[in-house]
């Protein structure tokens, strides 16, 4: 295993550990006219879906939960040596990660939240909840994991190839 990919694995694992907290803990604490509400990402998705905003809800679900989670999981698998996935499959997974990475928009969500905090500041009291820290770290770690990932690690080492050739 190449060292660069073990670093990717470490960072991706860290992001995965923080991820459940980032989406379930309250992200925003909103106070308006004496009403106090907290909102987490999962809650937001559920609320959107239950209000009949199927498309928006599904897009948010896909972009903020499914894709980032899938990307992190895939990176972790690849960087740990594929867990028995064949080379062909590993390569395919990597391409999928590359492609969907553009659609998993954790970072965009972060910007949206910042905008909410800055813009709504006058009307309502918006404060970052405990999930904000986890979420920010998750975003940073996820970016790092992608940047650190070295696709060359996917190239089979000659020994591996020999054993695989021998097997087939």
């Amino acid at each position: 295993m190449l060292r660069s990919n073990s670093r990717t694995a470490a960072v991706a694992l860290a992001a995965l550990i923080l991820y459940p907290l980032a989406v379930t803990l309250p992200m925003l604490e909103i106070e308006q006219f004496g009403h106090y509400r907290t909102a987490s990402i999962v809650q937001g998705v559920i609320e959107l879906l239950s209000r009949g905003q199927l498309i928006v809800g599904l897009v948010v679900l896909l972009c903020s939960i499914v894709l980032p989670l899938g990307k992190l999981a895939a990176l972790l698998t690849l960087s740990l040596g594929g867990f028995g996935l064949g080379h062909r499959h590993q390569a395919m997974t990597f391409r999928i990660v590359e492609f969907t990475g553009r659609w998993g928009m954790l970072d965009v969500l972060l910007v949206a939240i910042l905008v909410a905090i800055l813009k709504l500041g006058d009307m309502v009291d918006v404060q970052a909840g405990p999930a904000a820290l986890a979420f920010t770290m998750c975003v940073v770690l996820s970016l790092c994991a992608t940047a650190l990932f070295d696709p060359h690690g996917l190239w089979p080492s000659s020994e591996n190839r020999e054993t695989q050739d021998a097997r087939s």
């Binding site: 060292r3 860290a14 907290l21 106090y36 405990p130």
Partner: protein, 479 residues
């Protein structure tokens, strides 16, 4: 694998093998997930700690309550309403609310919930803040020892009596007409409120009305078999040849109604009654009722009925100390006048060793006490002097030495509410009971009398110093 073997001509076609150097099996980067795990478990633990508890409250009417509105107790927010739905039978609404973690114990059986909305009456205004602001769900916790509970049936109106203490009395009065009675009407004895009307309704046979009266525990000894009740609400006007006269119990009573009671002197009063006793509500009092002056011991609601309250006396000791740098020392506290003498904390009745003997002044309730004699008894914490500053003495027959901590109240200034101390907050240390550190007790309670709630006996004095508070027990020898 050999590293720098020069390729022989024989092996020219052989592709040189790259060599791996496995420097470190475990990369330093693996610290990152460990840190993340640490952080995540910390945050998760905190979230778990403050998760609160979800309760449901069924109410007959929503009064425009919305999700996001607050649940309040004692004027502060203890939770919020998550969801409001109609009940399946469409006869009411079902509120789902989350109580904050610190208010978790309000979710216990016997707790009551109601919607606070503006209520304007002739004599009182309630819930005025909800006229403009959002409405809220008010909570009133049930009895301390009741079991945890999640599903409640709310009240349609605020409860008349905040808390039914075991020992409170409930009696029924029968009247011909409702008059000014309604739930919340006060019951007065010599115009002092001693209870209130819980409910008013037609008697089961329709032959009159019945009202349930709640009498506070402290005054239950006033309610005897021959106690008379009359309607003191409204006013009476007489226009006659001699002129015009108007009779009003009090302006408050005239507006909101009131039930007044009178009890005959001790020998005619009869026995104490039990809950459920029935009386006739008279329309007006007879003259002699108003002249009755029974002498009945009434006491604090935290003590057994009829138990007397000790009246500790304010004490101050002052002296100067030091040879070169002279400084004034003063201590304040409470002492109790018993029939054996003045009982108080040792450091309040005796100056420090360093004190200049001639400057010591002990003052109890404005009386300077000479400190010439040795104390009659002392154990280092408590001291007893044979002095007597007031004829109101606490009888030593009302002093006892309990075996283990029990529910107590602490009495200092008679004008202040006594401080309750639950047995669970007291830790037996032999000659004294330590008061739990979580109870912060102001030093102004130093020397206050500790009275058992069980029998009303004085069991000790509260000793408060910089670091802690404890109950110094009185030894049996003091008798």
């Amino acid at each position: 694998m050999p590293e720098a073997d020069a390729p022989s001509e024989h092996d020219v076609k052989a592709i040189p093998h790259a060599t791996y150097r496995n420097e470190r099996r475990i990369s330093l980067a693996w610290i990152i997930p460990l840190v993340a795990l640490f952080l995540a478990s910390g945050m998760g633990w905190r979230a778990w700690q403050t998760r609160g508890v979800i309760i449901t409250v069924r109410l007959p009417e929503g009064h425009s309550l919305k999700p996001g509105d607050e649940v309040r107790y004692k004027g502060i927010t203890i939770g919020e309403i998550r969801d409001i739905t109609l009940t399946n039978d469409l006869q009411g609404i079902l509120i789902t609310a989350r109580l904050r973690q610190e208010a978790e114990r309000i979710a216990r059986s016997g707790s009551r919930f109601w919607v606070v909305r503006p209520q304007l009456r002739l004599t009182s205004v309630e819930g005025l803040e909800t006229l403009i602001g959002p409405r809220y769900l008010a909570a009133l916790p049930g009895h301390e020892q009741s079991l945890p509970w999640r599903d409640f049936i709310g009240l349609s109106d605020p409860p008349v009596v905040a808390e039914m203490i075991p020992g409170d009395l409930e009696v029924v009065v029968e009247a011909e007409t409702k008059g000014t009675l309604r739930p919340g009407t006060p019951i007065t004895y010599r115009q002092i409120p001693i209870g209130s009307v819980l409910s008013v309704g037609l008697a089961s046979d329709g032959g009159g009305i019945e009202a349930r009266l709640h009498i506070q525990k402290a005054y239950t000894s006033l309610i005897r078999e021959h106690t008379r009740f009359w309607d003191a609400g409204g006013f009476q006007a007489n226009v006659g040849l001699t002129g015009f006269s108007i009779k009003v119990e009090s302006l408050e009573a005239a507006l909101q109604g009131s039930i007044a009671i009178a009890t005959p002197p001790e020998d005619l009063a009869g026995e104490n009654v039990r809950t459920g006793h029935r009386y006739i509500l008279h329309k007006e009092p007879k003259k002699d009722w108003l002249e009755w002056k029974p002498l009945i011991a009434i006491g604090n609601s935290l003590l057994p009925p009829g138990a007397p309250m000790p009246t500790p006396l304010r004490a101050r000791i002052g002296w100067t100390q030091g040879r070169i740098l002279r400084n004034q020392e003063t201590r304040y506290g409470w002492v109790l006048q018993t029939d054996q003498g003045l009982l108080g904390p040792a450091n309040l009745l005796k100056p420090d060793e360093k004190a200049d003997r001639e400057t010591v002044v002990l003052e109890v309730e404005g009386v300077i006490i000479p400190l010439n004699d040795e104390p009659r008894w002392t154990d280092g914490v408590l001291t007893l002097y044979t002095e007597s500053v007031t004829p109101y003495q606490w009888l030593s027959s009302l002093i006892s030495h309990p075996a283990q901590p029990m529910d107590c109240i602490v009495i200092s200034d008679p004008a202040l509410d006594p401080l309750p101390l639950a047995a669970s907050r007291l830790h037996d240390q032999g000659q004294h009971w330590d008061v739990d550190q979580s109870l912060s007790i102001d030093p102004s309670w130093h020397g206050a009398a500790v009275v058992s709630r069980e029998n009303g006996h004085v069991v000790g004095l509260l000793i408060v110093d910089d670091s802690s508070a404890r109950v110094a027990l009185l030894p049996d020898t003091i008798k």
